[in-house]
C-alpha cells in the first residue's frame, strides 16, 4: 500500500494545477517543492495567456494575484537607431481578456495554497533526489535516502528536470532546445506606468522585440511587460549563436537591451528590484519525450510544453492545461486501480487532442524561422532603410515604395529570390 496516490514534484503552475485537480476529487496527493517558500525558485517573462485556470479555479480572474491584463501588444524590431513595430491595442481585449502579466512568486504561492485547500499535502524546501523504482516502474520519490511511496509520480520540474533526466525519461537539453532567459524587474509606480505606456486602470502592455542591433551575429529576443507598479524586462538569448560568437556575455546582452534608447526611456527613473535568470525551453515537437510510463507522467516544461512563433511566447498556459489533463488521467487510473503505462496512456490521448501538443505539432520547424538571419537581421534592416527613405523629406522628387524597397534590398546584399522564398516560409510556418 502506497503512502500517497500521487506525488507531484514541483509546485509551479503545472504541478499545482495537477494537484488541485486530483486533490479536489479526493485523491491523496503530496506536492513537493524544493523552493521555500513556493515560487522562490521560479522565473517567467511572464504573461499568463488564456483561460486554462478556469477549469480548476472558476473565479481565478478575481482571486489570483494577477498584475495587469494585456490590452496593448507590441511586436517590434529594434535596430541601433530605430524601432519598427506593430502596436496592437484593442478594446476587444478589455471585454474579453487574452492574458495577464504575473509575477511567479505570487502566482505560484497562490496556486500551491489552492492545492492545499483542495486537500493536497504541500511540503516546501524539500529537494527530490531521484525516483524510487521497482520492477521497471516508478513507486515513489527519494529524498535524503528516504523513499516516499506513491502509485504515481507526476514530474513538474520545469525546463531543467533533474529527476526526469537522471531517470532517462527526458533527454539532456542542448543548444537547440535552450535559450538563456535573463530578466530585470523595475519599480516604477502605478501612475508612471499608466502615463508612460498610455494605459488606464489595470490595462497592461506586453512588448516583444527582435534585438537586431546586437553585434557579432548573436541572436536574442527581448520582452517588456507591465505589472501593477513594476515592469518586467528581459531577454532570451539563442544559445547556439552565443556559443558561435564566443566573446559575448549573456549578462551584457541584458544590459544592452536595458540601455537601448527606446527601451531605457520606458523605465527611466525606475529602480531595479531584482535580477533573475533561467533557461527557457525551446525544443520542438521532435524533441518531446513520451509524457507517461509505468507509474509516472510528465507535465509542463518538463514534457516540452512551451510555444514561440516570434509574436507569441507561451508556456504557463500549457503547463496548467497539461497539469489538469494529467490530473484527470490520474483520477481515472485511480478508479481502475491501474497506474501502468497502458493505463496512463490515456494522458497522452488527452494531450494529443489539446493545444499543448497540437500547437507544437502544427508549428514544427518554427524555431528555424524565429532564430533565422532573415528575422534577426535582413527584415529589420530592410524595413529600417525603406521607411527611412520614404519618411525622410529630402526635398527631391519622391519615389514609389516598390523602388525604395528594391534599392534597400539591393544594398542589404540579400537577393530578392531568397527573400521571397524565406518570406513565404516565414508566413507559412508562423
Amino acid at each position: 500500500m502506497s503512502e500517497f496516490d500521487v506525488i507531484v514534484v514541483g509546485a509551479g503552475p503545472a504541478g499545482s494545477s495537477a494537484a488541485i485537480k486530483m486533490a479536489s476529487q479526493g485523491l491523496k496527493v503530496l506536492l513537493v517543492e524544493r523552493g521555500d517558500p513556493v515560487g522562490s525558485k521560479n522565473v517567467s517573462g511572464g504573461i499568463l495567456w488564456g483561460n486554462d485556470l478556469a477549469a480548476i479555479i472558476p473565479d481565478w480572474e478575481k482571486s489570483a494575484p494577477l498584475e495587469r491584463y494585456v490590452e496593448r501588444k507590441v511586436t517590434s524590431f529594434l535596430t541601433g537607431d530605430s524601432e519598427i513595430a506593430i502596436d496592437f491595442k484593442t478594446k476587444k481585449f478589455q471585454e474579453k481578456k487574452t492574458g495577464y502579466s504575473v509575477l511567479r512568486t505570487r502566482l505560484d504561492s497562490f496556486l500551491a495554497r489552492k492545492a492545499a485547500q483542495a486537500g493536497a499535502m504541500v511540503v516546501t524546501g524539500v529537494t527530490v533526489d531521484s525516483l524510487a523504482m521497482k520492477d521497471g516502474r516508478v513507486i515513489g520519490v527519494v529524498n535524503e535516502g528516504e523513499t516516499i511511496t506513491a502509485d504515481c509520480v507526476i514530474l513538474a520540474e520545469g525546463p531543467n528536470p533533474r529527476v526526469a533526466m537522471a531517470a532517462g525519461l527526458v533527454g539532456k537539453p542542448n543548444d537547440r532546445t535552450v535559450g538563456i532567459g535573463v530578466k530585470h524587474v523595475y519599480k516604477l509606480g502605478e501612475n508612471v506606468i499608466n502615463e508612460r505606456f498610455n494605459l488606464r486602470g489595470n490595462a497592461g502592455f506586453a512588448g516583444e522585440y527582435v534585438l537586431s542591433f546586437l553585434e557579432g551575429d548573436v541572436y536574442a529576443g527581448g520582452f517588456l511587460y507591465t505589472n501593477k507598479d513594476t515592469v518586467s524586462m528581459g531577454v532570451v538569448i539563442n544559445m547556439a549563436t552565443l556559443r558561435k560568437n564566443g566573446n559575448t556575455h549573456s549578462f551584457d546582452i541584458m544590459e544592452k537591451f536595458a540601455q537601448h534608447p527606446f527601451i531605457s526611456s520606458l523605465v527611466e527613473g525606475g529602480q531595479l528590484q531584482e535580477y533573475s535568470a533561467h533557461f527557457v525551453y525551446e525544443g520542438g515537437y521532435e524533441d518531446m519525450p513520451r509524457a507517461y510510463g509505468n507509474g509516472y507522467m510528465l507535465v509542463g516544461d518538463t514534457a516540452g510544453f512551451s510555444f514561440s512563433n516570434g509574436m507569441i511566447l507561451q508556456g504557463m498556459n500549457y503547463a496548467i492545461s497539461s497539469g489538469i489533463l494529467a490530473g484527470e488521467a490520474a483520477i481515472e487510473a485511480r478508479k481502475d486501480n491501474d497506474f501502468s503505462a497502458e493505463s496512463l496512456s490515456r494522458y497522452q490521448k488527452k494531450l494529443d487532442n489539446s493545444p499543448a501538443v497540437l500547437d507544437k505539432k502544427n508549428f514544427q520547424g518554427i524555431s528555424n524561422v524565429v532564430w533565422s538571419p532573415m528575422v534577426h537581421r535582413a527584415i529589420p534592416a530592410l524595413l529600417e532603410s525603406s521607411l527611412y527613405s520614404m519618411l525622410y523629406e529630402s526635398g527631391k522628387p519622391k519615389k514609389h515604395l516598390s523602388q525604395i524597397m528594391m534599392k534597400s534590398l539591393k544594398s542589404s546584399g540579400m537577393n530578392s529570390k531568397d527573400l521571397m522564398v524565406q518570406g513565404y516560409r516565414l508566413m507559412r510556418r508562423m
Binding site: 523552493g35 522562490s40 524546501g125 537539453p173 535552450v178 518586467s232 544559445m239 556559443r243 531595479l272 533573475s276
Partner: protein
C-alpha cells in the same frame, strides 16, 4: 549597471555544506573555449590567470552552464533543503 551590483540585490540562503554545482578543474584546464564564462548570467565562472574559478554562492540555478559546457566538466544538481536563490518577484 554592473552585473555585480545586480547580483547584490538578490537574497540567497547559502548552504555552507553542499556545493550543488561542481566543476572538474582538469577538464577546464584543457578547455579551448571557456564558454561558461560567457553563458552564465550570474558571472559564477571567471577566468583567473588562465584557470576557471567557480562561485556556487552566486548561482541563480538557471541551468545554463550545464548546457553551455560541452566538455563534461559541470556536475549540476539542485540545492537541498530550500537553500540557494530566493526570488522576491520571479
Amino acid at each position: 549597471m554592473e552585473i555585480e551590483e545586480k547580483l547584490a540585490l538578490l537574497n540567497y540562503k547559502t548552504d555552507p555544506e553542499y556545493e550543488h554545482i561542481t566543476i572538474n578543474p582538469k577538464i577546464c584546464e584543457t578547455c579551448p573555449d571557456h564558454f561558461c564564462t560567457f553563458a552564465c548570467p550570474a558571472k559564477c565562472y571567471t577566468l583567473i590567470e588562465g584557470r576557471i574559478n567557480f562561485k556556487y554562492e552566486d548561482c541563480v540555478e538557471c541551468g545554463t552552464c550545464d548546457v553551455a559546457c560541452a566538455h563534461g566538466s559541470v556536475m549540476w544538481t539542485n540545492p537541498k533543503d530550500g537553500h540557494g536563490i530566493k526570488y522576491k518577484f520571479g
